[in-house]
Amino acid sequence: MNAELSSDDLDFQDEVRRFLGSELPDDIRGRVESGGRLSKEQHVRWQKVVYERGWAGVNWPRQYGGTGWTPVQKHIFEKECARAYAPEFISFGLKMVGPVIYTFGTDEQKQRFLPSILSSDTWWCQGYSEPNAGSDLVALTTTAVRRGDHYVVNGAKTWTTYAHRADWMFCLVRTGAADVKSQEAITFLLIDMTSPGITVSPIITLDGAHEVNEVFLNDVKVPVDNRIGEENKGWSYAKFLLNHERTNIAKVAISRQRLSQLKSLLLVTPDGLGGFLSDDPAFSRKLAELEIELKALEFTELRTLSALSTGESPGPQSSILKVCGTEVAQRIDELFVEAAGMAGLPYRPDHYLGNAEVDQAGCVESYVNRTPWYFNNRKASIYGGSNEIQKNIIAKTVLGI
């Protein structure tokens, strides 16, 4: 048992560091560091840089243009990206629909969709949640009725992240009898967002950001060729997707970077007594406890990674990664807001949503986006299977209740 990187892995780490050091654009790095939101252009520009290097398909097999990296290499890459303040990749294409397509899609679908996901030329969004089915995904009511070589889709999706930026949506629809509330009547469709009958309506979140949307589908025609796998088997592809990505769901690398950023910030945050907040024993203790918690989480992740590396099943501890990851991340958010003090009160949308520089007459500028971030990131314990649902699942699958 050892937690050290092999010399090959250390070489790889150096390679990633050099790449990030020379290729990550300053404006993008600066946005991430400041906690502001990135434009679509910035996301695309960065993914293209990585794509050119051949590294966009972090988790993809080589045959589809992926890296074919080992679990440890993926881990190193994600860690180094976070360390360098590189933005996270948008996951809907690369981590979600991509793997579904290369696993269950036809050859034609693979050729048609995969390249532009890697190159970031096509943006995807996820049509799962519906207004009346939150945590209870299976209760979806959007219908697709077969008419010759098309489905006609009617219904509404909600909480659809980046629907307004997306070219395509992967979507769960009900193809069985309307009153059947089972998993057996769900089909997985790929829908062109420019199709007639689609309306995207923004949902503004509490931080003022436009990230999620409602998507209304009114007699939208979807070619049968855009169906993944078999009709009525969509739930199994969706489940594959939920279980597929075990690495990096705890977001340890990002939390570590943010915690270290906070520690640096404390060194220049006045404590009101002529010193700095880094001298405050109560705050330092909270920070230390959180740092320890993050260290535990890191090793919980590494345990999973180590098992995956040797081809073993990831073990029951992997079930807690999502819950603990969001809890740690949200705790870091809280400490940022606490550290900010009065500097956490002003809201500067030009800076947070736009790209403007802010000169706050008052207070430490680096705190300007932290409160909106805290607000925004309350989603972390709600979206993608709320922490309550996660705990239900752990109780059932791990504790056997």
Partner: protein
Amino acid sequence: MDLSYSEEQLLLKDSVSRFVARSYEFNRRRDNLHSSLGYSAENWALFAELGWLMIPFDEEDGGLGGSAVDLMILMEEFGKGLVVEPFLATTVLAGGLVAALGSDRQKGDYLSPVIDGAMQLAACYIEPDSRYCLSRVTTKAVRDGGGYVISGKKCVVLNGGHAENYLVVARTSGDSNDQSGISCFIVPNGVSGLSVDNYRMNDGVPAADLVFTDVRVPESSVLGAIGDGFKALESVVARATFAACAESVGIMDELLNKTVEYTKTRKQFGVPISSFQALQHRMVDMFIACEQSRSMLLMAACELDQGSESSLKAVSATKARVGQAARLVGQEAVQIHGGIGITDELDISHYFKRLTSIENLFGSVDYHVGRYMSA
């Protein structure tokens, strides 16, 4: 010992509650908040008409000589409605400073119009590096001829944009953290050398950062004795802190009620989510947080009205406990609502954001536990 409200207090509570029900429909509030003023001038005039702006002031100053309990009732109901009128900024904070330090003439010039609803004020006492420490004042006021020259920065000045006059805390002697040597000046908005950066806070309420560059004020602008303003500042901020706690308690009650009601109607897996025991117990924890906060508030109100030595300590204990409760209740209300809880469209997120502002306003939990320990 009697912890119940008097008849008059019940009437006040009822009156504010009816105002909120009548005038604070969510979209109307939003429109008022989004207006350039940031609140409703009409509402403010109504506050004056109903005598609410008189409550905190002594009868000899033209006020009603209201108690801390009265202030608590008002602020709690304001909290329930997320009232945005600058009562805390103009009346409690700035008005409180004039009442505590002003001469009769100054009270006539600045307090009477506040009570009448005709003048807006703002208190400038927070600085970029003062965090929550009231004695950390580096803005300087230097004697020059017949007046003073003020230079320095003030930040997060509540109501800082529309105030007609500022109550500016500045140092006239001593080192940066000395409690002595702190003075208070009345400075008109628009004075030469003053730049004002207006913005909204995260909760949507307007505030401003101010830069004073050699701002000249006459001798007559000095409020109270030179160098002797700290105690008044401390006591006024303590009362404002208490008022903010009352606002928080009102907000928390509303969040709890709305959350409980939501769980009764929201269905998942075919049943109302209120039937999930884990959520039930968490809502009970929210209820406990609300009630324990209310108890602290009553405790602090009694101490303030008794004029007890330990009232600053009582306020710090209250702010600390209410801050802990606010974190819990705000986050749980959002979490239990799920996705809808973090939309701008629903009121829940606005209550949550206001609670979060108050958590840091006038000092965090850590700060006030520290003050409690050292008091």
